[in-house]
């Protein structure tokens, strides 16, 4: 649930409306309920769409969270490496 919360926290800082899609399902990127119900686990493919004045910045900030910081959590591979 923490990653969803981080995502929503960042998305909520922007004016732009943010839509996140996984396969056919699209949800409001500012709603933790909808984001967590998307059930995006590690390795899922997400499409982030923003509309509004600060749309570009919003997408960039969210991309950074997902792709660069990786939610500040170890990936499953890293976890198994730590354990062994």
């Amino acid at each position: 649930m923490r990653p969803a919360m981080q995502f929503v926290d960042i998305a909520s800082k922007f004016q732009a409306s943010i839509t996140v899609s996984k396969a056919e399902t699209s949800v409001d990127g500012k709603s933790i309920m909808q984001m967590s119900m998307l059930a995006a686990t590690y390795g899922a493919r997400l499409k982030i769409k923003a509309e509004g004045a600060d749309a570009a910045e919003a997408v960039e900030a969210l991309r950074e969270l997902v792709e660069v910081k990786k939610f500040g959590e170890p990936t499953p591979e890293e976890k198994s490496r730590q354990m062994s």
């Binding site: 649930m1 923490r2 409001d28 909808q34 967590s36 119900m37 686990t41």
Partner: protein, 579 residues
């Protein structure tokens, strides 16, 4: 019209409109509202979210020794949900379109989300369902809590229908307007029953799914004599019950005339009849009904109806107010009996797997000395105002009693240093309410000035039956041979050691048990005020010789069923109107 049968726990008859309270930890039934209530219900949803946010923000800021960061993260997630407008809208939309109560909309929406999570294969996500249930629980807590304030602010007479009433809820009752109580859970000695009896409000418990059979505003009849609740009665039934109600009031008035007469058997044996109270404002009622003091003054209420723990001065004011009413009559004050089903402010969130076997009552006090000493300090200050006695609850061994007395000694030293006067010779006794205490009564008697047998917990612990669980309520009986043997042991051992013994459990206020208790040698009973006249009437109608015979017979019987039907027959001969 629907007739429901439960357990009659507080006598009397009342007819009125019902006020329903759902429980945050029990399935919320789908209950409908009128279109005109849409605005109020959606506002209740918004308020619950708002209150939840305030509460979580406060919890997050509190330094927590044990839980640490992990809990804070969980709180952050919950906060995030409560701030989610789309979630709130989903719930208010449901209220508006389906015309259901705020409670039902919250519960059903969040349960849908939770079940969505449990279906996901990924363990990390499916475990999140627990978070959703927590959020549901928190929101419902605020909705129900808001209802609680509504009971406090009732402007018209109502009959309360609930799954179960918590001590916090009953503590905030506006007694003037609560005319009857019906609960799904509970038994004769559950908290609701005790409170209803002491306030003289007709009540029926263990009605199972009663909350699903009523909607707010339905007309309900509570028959606290026969254990019957009738939902939406027809005109004939209402008429019939109005007549019953008149007859019953007449009986009560007849009994009130014996108020000035002593509680004395026909052969001249004097029995002392005292009252059990929880709130200082009940004290007057005990006197009015002819009580000769307080045999059990419960002090938990100071902790229940508020957000912060009471100060020493607040303890003192409550006690001195009560003592003032009784002047030189004895007032036995029981030190706080929190834990199990009643909680202190700071511990409300820590759950124990077996609360009735856990850190409750004297055990809790002995581990929270600051709180315990605060209460003892206030009691000792009030001890100069009248005949105040101290009673420690749930003692299971001599060490606990010694420890508690040692702490009382410390408090006396503090008072000496402060130059505050107190009664140095205050009597210190214990509740005998565990099998352990009953079996070792002869040892405890050396260090206790008096015993009070608490038959409610003694029965619960002896028979291993949860006294509030309606599923096993038929097994709960204070006249079970096992319980009676323990009571006899206590009375005999106390007699040998010349320690005064009274009975303060609900058993003492059951007309059918009175002869038995007298026959076992009990001479002091402490009961709910409204029961005093009826019990006195029984005492005045019997001889000790008859009582001894009843006790001898009963102790020779080997089944609870045989005993209770024998006792009922014996009592019916004496006071037929009451049965």
């Amino acid at each position: 019209m629907e007739i429901k049968k439960g357990i009659a726990v507080s006598p009397g008859i009342s007819i009125g409109k019902c006020f329903v309270i759902d429980a945050e930890d029990y399935r919320i039934p789908r209950r409908l509202i009128e279109p005109s209530q849409r605005l109020t219900e959606t506002q209740r949803v918004r308020n619950a979210f708002k209150d939840g946010i305030v509460e979580l923000t406060r919890l997050q800021a509190e330094p927590k020794e044990i839980e640490g960061q992990k809990i804070k993260d969980i709180f952050a997630v919950h906060l995030s949900y409560l701030r989610d407008r789309t979630l709130r809208k989903k719930i208010t939309d449901m209220v508006n379109t389906e015309l259901v109560t705020a409670e039902f909309a919250v519960s059903s929406t969040l349960r849908d989300i939770a079940s969505h999570f449990t279906k996901v294969k990924d363990v990390y996500i499916s475990e999140r369902a627990a978070d959703i249930y927590d959020i549901e629980h928190r929101l419902l807590g605020h909705l129900v809590g808001g209802k609680r304030q509504d009971i406090a602010a009732l402007k018209e007479e109502a009959i309360i229908v609930a799954r179960e009433l918590s001590p916090t809820q009953t503590a905030s009752f506006n007694k003037e307007y609560v005319k009857g109580i019906a609960t799904g859970a509970g038994g004769r000695t559950s908290h609701t029953a005790i409170v209803a009896r002491s306030l003289g409000i007709p009540a029926v418990v263990a009605l199972e799914d009663i909350t699903e059979s009523v909607n707010a505003g339905d007309t309900v009849i509570i028959d606290g004599n026969r254990g019957i609740v009738i939902v939406n009665p027809d005109d004939n039934t209402i008429q019939q019950y109005l007549e019953y109600a008149v007859e019953y009031t007449e009986l009560e008035h007849r009994l009130d005339t014996i108020r000035e007469k002593p509680a004395e058997t026909r052969d001249g044996v004097r029995v002392m009849l005292m009252g059990n109270i929880e709130f200082p404002d009940e004290a007057q009622g005990v006197l009015q009904k002819g009580g000769e003091g307080i045999g059990l003054y419960r002090t938990e209420f100071l902790y229940l109806n508020r957000n912060t723990e009471p100060t020493e001065q607040e303890h003192y004011e409550a006690y001195s107010k009560t003592v003032a009413v009784f002047k030189s009559m004895p007032v036995v004050l029981r030190t706080v009996d929190l834990g199990a089903d009643k909680y202190t402010q700071s511990r409300r969130y820590i759950r124990e797997p077996n609360p009735f076997l856990g850190l409750r009552s004297i055990r809790f006090c002995l581990q929270n000395l600051t709180m315990f000493k605060t209460q003892l300090h206030a009691i000792m200050r009030a001890s100069v105002l009248g005949d105040l006695k101290i009673m420690f609850p749930l003692i299971t061994n001599l060490q606990e009693l010694m420890q508690a007395k040692m702490i009382l000694g410390d408090v006396m030293e503090d008072l000496d240093e402060e130059g505050v006067p107190y009664n140095r010779k205050i009597k210190v006794g214990i509740m005998v309410e565990t099998p352990a205490a009953a079996l070792t009564a002869s040892m405890l008697a050396r260090d206790a000035d008096f015993f009070s047998i608490g038959t409610n917990d003694l029965t619960q612990y002896t028979l291993a039956v949860d006294r509030g669980n309606e599923l096993v309520s038929t097994l709960y009986s204070s006249v079970d041979p096992a319980v009676l043997r323990l009571i006899r042991t206590v009375i005999q051992d106390a007699h040998k050691a010349q320690v005064e013994t009274s009975v303060c459990g609900e058993m003492a206020s059951e007309p059918e048990s009175v002869m038995l208790l007298l026959g076992l040698g009990v001479r002091t009973l402490s009961i709910a005020a409204p029961m005093i006249p009826e019990i006195k009437q029984i005492i005045r109608s019997v001889t000790i010789e008859e009582c001894n015979k009843v006790a001898r017979k009963v102790l020779g019987m080997n089944s609870e069923r045989q005993i209770s039907s024998f006792l009922r027959d014996a009592a019916r001969k004496i006071l037929p109107e009451a049965f």
